[in-house]
């Protein structure tokens, strides 16, 4: 899986670089510079998050995790995860570190899907800080309210698809 993704990804990168080079050398070098700069900027944060999530998972009391959001927790575990997702503040490092730590310390995979879907769709912090100032208020409310059932549906579909 990992190799197949790499192959596909780098074919796409190659095609985009070719198109950029056909436009001009400036576009090509600007793309390479911007993309490379982005990696250097993000890598320390990703590294702290990924390695940190491993230790956080190890330090968490597993006996406490399972009854709340474990694989056997079912719909109530999904609901707990969704509320946690909506209440998670901060950017991607925070949300993904929590999701990864939960998964490693015994949370059920559909429950983690519910958490990350709710967090992506309607983390209250993000709605207020980012979406409200940039979008018409009516659209924000409309989007957030039709999104309410989506994490349940995502968890349900994930269960129907079987374990990853």
């Amino acid at each position: 899986m990992s190799m197949a993704i790499n192959l596909l990804l780098w074919i796409v990168v190659g095609i985009l670089m070719l198109i950029a080079a056909m436009r001009s050398r400036v576009v090509l070098s600007e793309g390479l510079r911007n993309g490379g700069g982005e990696v250097l900027r993000l890598l320390p944060r990703i590294a702290i998050g990924v390695v940190g999530a491993g230790f956080i998972a190890e330090a968490l009391p597993k006996a406490l995790i399972a009854p709340w959001i474990g694989p056997e927790s079912g719909l109530s575990g999904v609901a707990v995860s969704i509320v946690a997702g909506a209440l998670t503040p901060g950017g991607p490092v925070v949300g993904f570190a929590i999701a990864a730590a939960a998964l490693k310390s015994g949370a059920g995979a559909p429950q983690v899907v519910a958490y990350s879907t709710a967090w992506a769709l309607y983390a209250i912090h993000r709605l207020v800080l980012w979406e409200m100032p940039m979008m018409p208020a009516r659209l924000v409310w409309l989007r957030a309210s039709v999104s309410l059932p989506l994490p349940f549906i995502a968890a349900g579909l994930a269960m129907a698809l079987g374990k990853p």
């Binding site: 985009l16 990696v39 999530a53 491993g54 998964l103 989007r143 995502a154």
Partner: protein
């Protein structure tokens, strides 16, 4: 709460694990996470390069006009596809969504676009989700999330048609 908070929590957790389980266990966890990170590194780099080139090459105004003129199911599908392709964070995505409205896209298409960008957007998935969650989990979650942007768009249209909310 930010990376700094996570760093403090992670450091405390690492110290606790070291004190409780000793060096061998500490090293096992460290190595397994570092290996996962290294394995995902080429994907993060690929994701960043794709994002940078798409930003330079994609005619955003043209796509916005395209989404604006399409209605029905095809409007939702184009909006979903565009959400998948568009790189960048909220500073990029929300102004694009606002531009959709300006050129006449319906609220359903805008909702489908934002939902797609947050749930299946390639940048978020490649750069952030893969290193944290690993490829198996990510592919599985993506599969489950695939129908959701269209569904959100249809729900938004239904809510507006039923008069439960007013169009933005």
């Amino acid at each position: 709460m930010s990376t700094a908070t996570i760093a403090v929590v992670a450091f405390s957790a690492a110290a606790y694990v070291y004190a409780r389980d000793g060096w061998d266990h500490f090293r096992t966890i460290l190595i397994s996470d570092a290996v996962m990170l290294l394995d995902m590194l080429p994907k993060v780099l690929g994701g960043c390069l794709i994002g940078a080139f798409v930003t330079l090459l994609l005619p955003r105004e043209k796509v916005a006009r395209w989404v604006g003129h399409e209605s029905g199911m095809s409007g939702l599908m184009i909006a979903t596809a565009f959400g998948f392709v568009l790189p960048g964070g909220p500073v990029t995505a929300f102004p694009v969504a606002g531009a959709f409205l300006l050129v006449g896209a319906d609220a359903g298409a805008v909702v489908a676009f934002i939902t797609s960008w947050t749930l299946i957007g390639h940048a978020r998935t490649l750069i952030w989700e893969l290193p944290f969650m690993g490829p198996d989990f990510v592919m599985w979650r993506l599969l489950a999330a695939l129908p959701l942007p269209i569904l959100a768009g249809l729900l938004a249209r239904a809510v507006l048609r039923a008069g439960l909310a007013r169009a933005p």
